[in-house]
Amino acid sequence: MPELVEKLSFYLEFPFVRYAIIVGVLVSLCSSLLGVTLVLKRYSYIGDGLSHVAFGALSIAAVLKLTNNMFVVLPVTIAVAILLLCRVGRDTRIKGDSAIAMVSVGALAIGYLLMNIFSTSANVSGDVCTTLFGSTSILTLKIEEVYLCVALSCVVLLVFILFYHKIFAITFDEKFAQATGVNATFFNLLIAVVIAVIIVLAMNLVGALLVSALVVFPSLSAMRVFKSFFSVTVAAAVFSVMCSLVGILIAILAGTPVGSTIVAMDIVAFLLCYVMGLIRGRA
């Protein structure tokens, strides 16, 4: 145990380790907050689809050899998010889930194809693995990425806090909200944009394939135990941040991949909540 603490404090000396922790906390906070809405609107799979799109966009950015790939990834993901959340959900002629499956798998395939054909890197499969499952070491976060991440997270948090009640009203009963004067179209658009931003941010932390775990697990855990929207939201945020912190620390100490360690923690938390929910249901 003492060696562990020593090792930890040794690592914490490095600024990039601290950055990684800051990024981890912020990203997991944002993703859990919007995750509640996504899960309740039955859109969990959209998070997954979007992360694949972000991966595809990332590979395009890599092919174009852009220094900051965010300028491609963010707009593309936002555009697809708006298309998926604001169009498909409504139009009954296009089957929503199959459209998402198409976009999601298509982006994944094209992304990998592009990376393979155009990559100059010696270790293509290594690169791909990193974007899909997150880097094995969080020390690879660049300082610009950290700044961008902090800024975007703050915007997301601000939007969520300011529009919390509107988001609740639209999530709970969109028709009523619309009939009583809430601009549902605008807020659906806003939610879509914010979700795209979160997906792109979270991809840095846990990789494209594991993003939806960050979005879905904390809110599902919280819903097992809590019964009002407010308490579920707060609990999801707390669970998510705790799991990410513990996950990152374990990853540093044990040298495990960050993304999968965090998700493993989320699974543990979910199981605990599940059992707690069962016990409560009995009592």
Binding site: F168, K175, T180, K227
Partner: protein
């Protein structure tokens, strides 16, 4: 009688789903201080008409006009079947308060006046004791009363009700009718879809019969 001022004006209104027309070429005015009862067989288009008025179903052709400077934020709405998901975690109070989201006066939290108004509406629908309860764990009739409280909270000038007494016990139904009647007496315009023809006709000032409208359209 005071003069007739239209509040909602439908002209040549056609509403429908997919390639099916439900309401065809309807000319109809809902007037200020009407207590309008909408009756008719199952599937005759009552809910469709109400959804049109509520702005949830864009007209195929024709117009629905809100007159007298009526704003959507002054409308209260009780949908027929609630589309609310089965396992949504929300307390009764959160749901009733959400009625204010369309109103002006943007604040990230609710002021005292609105909380009090919400309490009043919960008292009127006898749901104040359920205030902290979880919505998904209520009985069907209790849920209906909560959604009614939400509709009352939102309604300032116009109240749209789609089968409000469905699932209510006789006592709650009677309170419901009394509450609506009181609101009407205080100047609220009411549009109520109902199958409870006798009870409704006691209070209503006008009746709209969709069986006849459908027959005429054909």
């Amino acid at each position: 009688m005071n003069e007739i001022i239209p509040l909602i004006r439908c002209r040549q209104l056609t509403l429908g789903y997919g390639n099916k027309e439900v309401v065809r070429d309807l000319d109809y005015d809902v007037n200020v201080e009407d207590y309008l009862c909408v009756i008719g067989r199952n599937g005759s288009g009552k809910t469709t008409f109400l959804r049109g008025i509520a702005g949830l179903l864009p007209p195929r052709s024709g117009t629905i006009e809100l007159c007298e400077d009526l704003k959507r934020s002054e409308i209260g709405f009780l949908p027929q079947i609630s589309v609310v998901q089965r396992d949504f975690p929300a307390s009764v109070e959160e749901i009733v308060l959400s009625a204010f989201q369309g109103k002006k006066g943007f604040l990230p939290f609710y002021g005292k006046a609105r909380r009090e108004r919400a309490m009043e509406c919960m008292a009127l629908t006898r749901t104040e004791s359920l205030r902290k309860s979880c919505f998904r764990e209520l009985s069907g009739g209790q849920k209906q009363r909560v959604l009614l409280a939400r509709a009352l909270c939102a309604a300032e000038r116009l109240l749209l009700l789609d089968e409000p007494v469905t699932g209510l016990d006789p006592e709650s139904a009677e309170t419901m009718y009394r509450v609506v009647k009181d609101l009407h007496r205080n100047g609220m315009t009411i549009v109520m879809v109902t199958h409870d023809v006798d009870a409704a006709l006691n209070d209503a000032t006008r009746v709209m019969n969709f069986d006849q409208i459908a027959a005429k359209g054909k």
